[in-house]
């Protein structure tokens, strides 16, 4: 049994290493598959945009990422892999000469803090209420929560965010209109408080829009599970209602949600886009938005690579957790 588990995990690790390698390789290849010489196209474009000539350092940075037409493809590939291994993602064009790695490192904590935390909160809240609603479908709690959740999931996120911004930010003035912190307090005692204050609106809107989906998913799974024979047997055994509800019903109903949760965690970096644009939050999503609008290709590539690797990492964690919580998958891994 133990052996099966290890074998399963090693297989998964190998699979994800191979997938990561192909993601990195694609990230390298796609710009080079573009017709012509992408780096000179980009340099020309930048020149047209800014109206002044691009510095030789910036040209070198672009050529490093998109291929120096004078070097062979294999040599370029090798250089690319070496720089990725050194966490060197090149230099940003729009904020030249800041390294892309530095921009990513600046944005990452904000996104992880805001979207990561809210994803966890929405999951725990939604799933918890879903267990309660699904335990007695048609009951009073279910009769209130299910229609509410259906409504909340149907409302588009950006609309909720804009309404919140208008009402609580503009009309009532309770919360700031955008940003991640009060720049006047940077490095001063009130800084942490201002970070929390700036987080309230984006965080609440995310939880507000996301928890209904978790609730409905868990509720529906719970209803199916409650009619299973093993739940009936749990009741026949004379166990307490709480034990039957959690150990027998919820424990089994949770399995599909765990996969969904891991996917959501993997999508944190990508999913942050809308929130961070609406609230001008200084995270990875805003960085990507900025990069796209200013055609900062090195930065875009850095964000793409980071996003892809996060999704893979989250999936790997989900797979491993799943093996631990569902003994039946160990068989399948063999």
């Amino acid at each position: 049994m133990k052996q099966g588990r290890w074998r399963f995990l090693t297989k998964r690790v190998a699979f994800y290493l191979a997938t990561s390698w192909s993601a990195i390789t694609l990230n390298f290849l796609i710009p080079r598959l573009m017709p012509g010489d992408p780096s000179s196209v980009i340099v020309r474009q930048l020149q047209r945009q800014s109206g002044e000539s691009v510095s030789p350092e910036a040209v070198a940075a672009i050529q490093k990422l998109f291929g120096d037409p004078r070097a062979g493809l294999l040599q370029q590939y090798w250089d690319y892999l070496v720089s990725i291994a050194r966490l060197d993602f090149g230099l940003s064009v729009s904020r030249f000469p800041t390294p892309v790695g530095e921009l990513l490192a600046d944005g990452l904590p904000w996104t992880l803090m805001l979207v990561g935390a809210t994803t966890v909160v929405a999951f725990v809240l939604g799933t918890g209420l879903g267990i309660a609603a699904g335990w007695k479908p048609g009951g009073r709690l279910d009769g209130f929560l299910s229609p509410l959740s259906t409504f909340l999931t149907a409302v588009p996120y950006f609309w909720v965010a804009l309404i919140a911004l208008y009402v609580f930010g503009l009309v009532l003035g309770w919360f700031p209109l955008g940003g991640g912190y009060d720049p006047d307090l940077y490095g001063r005692p009130g800084f942490l408080g201002s970070v929390l204050q700036y987080m309230v609106m984006p965080a609440t809107t995310i939880v507000f829009s996301a928890f209904g989906g978790w609730l409905l998913g868990m509720r529906n799974m719970m209803i199916t599970t409650v009619s299973e024979d093993y739940v009936l047997l749990g009741r026949a055994k004379g166990l307490s209602a709480g034990r039957v509800m959690f150990r027998y019903a919820a424990r089994n109903a949770l399995l599909p949600s765990v996969t969904g949760f891991a996917m959501a965690i993997g999508g944190v970096l990508g999913g942050a886009l809308l929130t961070e644009i609406v609230f001008s939050y200084p995270g990875i999503g805003y960085l990507l938005y900025d990069a796209v609008s200013k055609r900062d290709y090195p930065l875009m590539q850095g964000v793409f690579l980071l996003t892809t690797l996060t999704v893979l990492l989250a999936n790997f964690v989900a797979d491993s957790v799943y093996v631990m919580i569902d003994p039946r998958t160990r068989e399948a891994g063999r």
Binding site: M1, S227, E228, D229, Y230, L232, L233, G234, R235, A236, K237, G238, L239, S240, R243, R247, Y248, R251, N252, L255, I325, D326, P327, R328, E331
Partner: protein, 324 residues
């Protein structure tokens, strides 16, 4: 006596009105007795035993009658009228259940040991590991299998583990809902032999449901035949099999190959089981009965004594009036 059922009714409550699945069922079960309940699909046999231990799932509900359980210690309890909370104390200690498919009835994400331990602990057992090993050995499973998950065991082993689990708290009454339907014939015989042997040793009573009458003859002391939600015949197992009093019982007997005699001709029962929403005013079996006559469409036959048995059939009216 362990169980005294009086006029039990179970309804499925639907939007279009109630459908009576168990209708005015009464019987008594002696200590250590095995009562077999047989009938076609939809005759109410599974609903009946689930009602006996109050495990009905909505929309099914007990709508009348009493189920008196006489525990070893303490006063008799009417299972039908107690609250769920009051019943918890009796569950598994006085009454346990074996379901049709152990694959579905065992928690798929918990080891066998955990599924024994939680019920043992809930009912005050201290040495749960020791007790689990003892129980598994009782049904011929090596105690080291306690660490297995349900999916890691064979079908027969799972079913025997279910039986061991049912006996965990030394119950007085075990209801079994077709526990041998999901396993092959060889395993079926092994399990039946084991139930008989364990009953000798531990003295629990069993209500055993199946559609296979020939199987019941091997196992049960008495047999109840159900049709359209009612008991239509009740008597000693051998007697029911040898000389059925009700035409339905005879039809049921002749539709299964006997376990121990050479197979002769098998005859099915023509027609289909009755529609519970729309039962005939007379005998429910009348439309399919090979021996029906005028009385059968007019009045519903009562379950009355015929020799040592009980049967609900107008064929015996004439004998009875002749005797009177």
């Amino acid at each position: 006596m362990i169980l005294d059922v009086k006029g039990l009714n179970v309804d499925y409550i639907t939007a279009k009105g109630a459908v009576r699945a168990v209708n005015d069922v009464s019987f008594q079960l002696r200590r250590g007795e095995i009562l077999g309940v047989a009938g076609e699909s939809g005759c109410g046999k599974s609903t009946l035993i689930m009602a006996l231990i109050r495990l009905l799932r909505p929309p099914a509900a007990i709508t009348g009658g009493q189920v008196w359980l006489h525990p070893r210690e303490g006063e008799p309890v009417d299972i039908a009228s107690r609250t769920d909370r009051e019943l918890r104390r009796l569950r598994w200690r006085s009454m346990a259940v074996v379901l049709q498919s152990a694959m579905d009835a065992l928690n798929p994400v918990a080891r066998l040991s955990a599924q024994f331990a939680d019920v043992l602990r809930a009912h005050g057992y201290k040495n749960t590991e020791e007790r689990t090993a003892e129980l598994l050995e009782m049904v011929g499973i090596s105690p080291d299998r306690a660490r297995s998950y349900p999916h890691e065991m064979s079908g027969g082993m799972r079913q025997r583990a279910m039986i061991a689990l049912a006996l965990a708290c030394d119950p007085e009454l075990v209801v079994m809902d077709e526990p041998t339907t999901a396993v092959d014939v060889v395993m079926q015989r092994q399990i039946l032999a084991q139930i008989l042997e364990l009953r000798e040793r531990l003295g629990f009573s069993v209500v055993f449901v199946t559609h296979d009458l020939s199987l019941l003859v091997e196992l049960a002391d008495r047999i109840a035949i159900m049709y359209g939600g009612r008991i239509v015949e009740l008597g000693e197992a051998a007697e029911i099999y040898r000389a059925p009093k009700h035409p339905y019982t005879k039809g049921l007997r002749d539709s299964f190959p006997p376990l121990h005699a050479p197979v002769t001709r098998l005859n099915g029962i023509p027609g289909t089981p009755p529609d519970l929403r729309n039962l005939p005013t007379g005998c429910a079996f009348e439309p399919r009965c090979p021996r029906r006559f005028a009385d059968c469409t007019e009045r519903r036959p009562e379950l009355l004594a015929v020799g040592d048995a009980l049967a609900a059939c107008h064929l015996h009216d004439r004998e009875r009036t002749a005797r009177a």
